[in-house]
């Protein structure tokens, strides 16, 4: 018994070096890609203003979509390739709003509102399908996305103008049937920048303020906990966070003081707020009964069943949430892009979002909102710099472009392979345990 206690003590007093080792080991994927991204930035020789500016607009427009992936992962549904279907719901919302020529912020909110019931319906149908194919959810959601794409094309290309009476020459093809390939959202009647342009502040000023507030919050929290004699105070975590925040603060102040053009980079505040809200939602829902049910099901479906959780119903709720968020995310995405490519905007959404969250260090069974955001930063840095870096290194921009396509497919492939392997090893271990008993 005494020995056991000593062991426990040893574990509690892990040295700093092991902690750092563990941090590096647990985050090996993001660290690897941080290095690749930095190398890419270096070899691309692009100006910092360009990178930061492009990256910022890509982060703000894609984050919502990637955050939609978190809940299904926790609920054990794996990476939801079905966010493509949610994106279609969002595009239906945009099409309706554009048709009625409701522009700006009102149009944006209305399209969010209109797409929600459609997305809920799609979510329910997808969940019904996934509940019939337990254990094969990811391939099912992927094929379901392909299938839905066919139906989507059928509705918009052939039912519009025949069954659905729509005669808007701005939207319908000249023959009177079918929606045009591209719909311009940038006109006075569109929703381009409806959310982004509400309020904009210089990025680095905002970052400085956030860093200061976070540092104050962290310090107060730390001392309150110390004072109360709270046991689980994690000094390492506290110091790491403080260092990161100080770095952010320092960089921001440096940029603000310097004559660099970086000062002029502006952050769309409302879009950022939307992202913060869904991030908070993803965190807070885990504190509720529903969130705990998600976690239990994700851990072991049969145990969840025995402990009285309605598994199918909870999985359906997770899918509905993900699909609705994907619909909203697609609307946020398109208001920034400014043109709706009717038959193309949604097709690659799932691949890119999933590759992004995996780069951030998520896996098929574990994902956090923080990983999602980190992943987006890495994935899009790679996206921005790789053609130019490819050009500078190999004399051919194509190679860089192919490289990033390979990364997005390859990282998904490797993650899925590792997960399947892990699942099998665990199943075999379980088998061994039962055999011994």
């Amino acid at each position: 018994m005494a020995e056991l206690n000593q062991n426990r003590l040893k574990i509690a007093q892990t040295t700093l070096s092991t902690k750092i080792k563990r941090l590096v080991f647990d985050n090996s994927v993001p660290i690897l890609f941080i290095i690749i991204c930095l190398a890419g930035v270096y070899f691309s020789q692009l100006p910092a203003v360009f990178i930061v500016n492009t990256l910022l607009s890509r982060i703000t427009r894609n984050s919502f979509l990637v955050l939609a992936l978190v809940i299904p992962v926790i609920a054990g549904l794996g990476l939801n390739f079905g966010i493509v279907i949610g994106a279609m719901a969002g595009q239906f919302g945009i099409l309706i709003v554009t048709h009625y020529k409701i522009a700006g912020f009102n149009g944006f909110m209305l399209s969010i509102l209109l797409s929600t019931p459609i997305a809920i319906l799609f979510g329910v149908v997808t969940a019904m399908l996934l509940n019939r194919t337990k254990g094969q959810e990811m391939i099912t959601s992927m094929i379901a996305g392909f299938f839905a794409n066919g139906v989507y094309q059928f509705i918009l290309l052939f039912l519009v103008g025949t069954l659905i009476p729509l005669k808007d020459p701005d939207m319908v093809l000249s023959r009177g049937i079918g929606i045009r390939n591209t719909i311009d959202l940038a006109t006075k009647t569109g929703i381009k920048y409806a959310l982004d342009d509400v309020l904009k502040y210089p990025l680095f000023n905002v970052l400085a303020v956030i860093a200061v507030i976070t540092i104050i919050g962290l310090v107060i929290n730390y001392y309150l906990k110390k004072k109360r004699g709270y046991e689980g105070v994690d000094n390492f975590r506290f110091v790491t966070l403080i260092i990161i925040m100080l770095l952010i603060l320092g960089t921001s102040l440096y940029v603000i003081k310097s004559p660099s053009l970086l000062k002029s980079v502006k952050l769309p505040m409302v879009t950022t707020l939307f992202i913060a809200i869904i991030w908070a939602f993803n965190e807070l829902i885990m504190k509720t009964k529903l969130g705990q049910d998600f976690r239990t099901i994700g851990h072991d479906m049969s145990i969840a069943q025995i402990s009285g959780i309605n598994v199918d119903r909870t999985r359906t709720i997770a899918m509905i949430l993900s699909t609705v968020f994907a619909a909203w995310g697609q609307i946020i995405f398109l208001q920034n892009i400014g043109t709706l490519s009717t038959y193309g905007s949604h097709v690659q959404i799932a691949t890119f979002s999933i590759a992004a969250i995996l780069l951030g260090g998520a896996s098929v069974t574990k994902a956090t909102s923080g990983q999602a955001i980190l992943g987006i930063i890495l994935f899009h840095t790679l996206f921005i710099v790789s053609p130019k870096a490819g050009n500078n290194l190999f004399g051919d921009a194509q190679i860089g472009e192919f490289f990033r396509a390979f990364i997005s497919y390859g990282v998904i492939g490797v993650a899925l392979g590792l997960h399947a392997w892990n699942k099998r090893v665990q199943a075999m271990r379980k088998q061994l345990d039962t055999d011994v008993l």
Partner: protein, 349 residues
């Protein structure tokens, strides 16, 4: 009455019945729209032979228990490489089938090697084969996009006249384009019968059928049908899964060579990305499931699916001149049938 009806449906299989009806409807539409019947029938037969071997590649994969081979692009890349090497070194004498036979001979060792490596991977991830296979296929195709730009092929027919890398489509007109189609080909009324192509496809079917009846083939099917029972009776399940994967990869390589031959062009870059899906859909339409398949499923399925798409194209274009109705039909039928098969697969095993 209802009982008999249900029995018939069960015997034919719902998907096969629906697709057959759709096929019949499209043919009637084609007749009503006054399409050139002879040309249409010739096209159906040509596409049947063209896609046949690719669909056949599903048979060993399903039989050995790894499920439909969504990683067909692994084999396809081997086939493409074999053809490119053939053209590069000019191995296109008539004895070598104007390059057809040499392409196959070169691609087979490549396919054995990559099929073996891919089979090892599949043994590590039992239970999630289809998903991992899909992304293995995607990854290999996107990886070889870099390859097509950087590999040192020099033949002027394959390279861009200016700039780097291989062309997106390489014409086979001067080598073995349509060689099999023309071999012993003849007109039956207005319908062209590409005898060589059909014979090659049916011959491949026969070889696979023969293999399934050999000792090794029976062992492989046993390992696929019930791995635990097979292992208990002394069959090395993992080894047999690798054999099945290698065979499937080889057939994929030969399949794409036949496909390119009949098409007249070699398609590089992104073209092979989704090539596995029509092949999977074809055998499923033919009546196969994710764990059971016969040669007849391949023949019936390829004929129905490719036939449907071939006839649908001109019919759809005449009815809706703009927009790609037949492409849409392909997407819906192809992915609908795969979804249907997934739901029939049942839950977690």
């Amino acid at each position: 009455m209802m009982e008999i009806f249900n029995k018939i449906i069960k015997r034919i299989g719902l998907p096969r019945l629906i697709i057959s009806l759709l096929f019949a409807v499209i043919w009637i539409a084609a007749i009503l729209l006054d399409q050139p019947m002879g040309l249409l029938a010739s096209d159906v037969i040509r596409r049947f032979g063209m896609f046949g071997v690719l669909s056949l590649a599903m048979v060993p994969a399903i039989q050995c228990g790894t499920g439909p081979n969504f990683a067909l692009p692994v084999g396809i890349i081997c086939g493409l490489l074999g053809t490119l090497i053939t053209i590069e070194f000019g191995l296109t004498s008539p004895i070598l089938g104007y390059g057809f036979i040499s392409s196959i001979i070169i691609s087979i060792p490549l396919a054995i090697l990559s099929g073996w490596a891919y089979g090892l991977l599949l043994n590590k991830i039992k239970g999630s084969e289809m998903l991992v296979a899909t992304y293995t296929g995607f990854s290999i195709v996107s990886f070889f996009q870099i390859g097509w730009v950087t590999l040192p092929f020099q033949h002027p027919e394959m390279r861009w006249p200016i700039g780097k890398g291989l062309r997106v489509t390489v014409s086979l007109a001067s080598t073995f384009g349509e060689v099999l189609n023309k071999l012993w080909g003849f007109y039956l009324g207005k319908v062209y019968i590409p005898t060589g192509l059909l014979l090659f496809f049916l011959g491949s079917c026969f070889v696979v059928w023969l293999f399934a009846r050999s000792k090794a083939g029976i062992e492989m099917s046993a390992a696929g049908a019930n791995p635990k029972f097979a292992a208990a009776s002394g069959i090395n399940v993992d080894k047999n899964r690798i054999i099945g994967t290698i065979l499937s990869t080889i057939l994929g390589a030969i399949g794409v060579i036949v496909y390119s031959l009949s098409f007249g062009f070699l398609q590089l870059y992104l073209a092979p990305l989704y090539m596995a899906f029509p092949a999977v859909a074809a055998v499923l339409i033919g009546g196969a499931s994710t764990s059971k398949v016969t040669i007849s499923h391949v023949i019936i399925g390829t004929f129905l699916f490719q036939g449907l798409l071939t006839v649908a194209l001109p019919v759809a274009n005449q009815m809706f001149p703009e927009g790609n109705l037949s492409e849409m039909l392909r997407t819906i039928v192809q992915n609908g049938i795969i979804l249907y098969a997934l739901t029939k697969m049942g839950g977690e095993s």
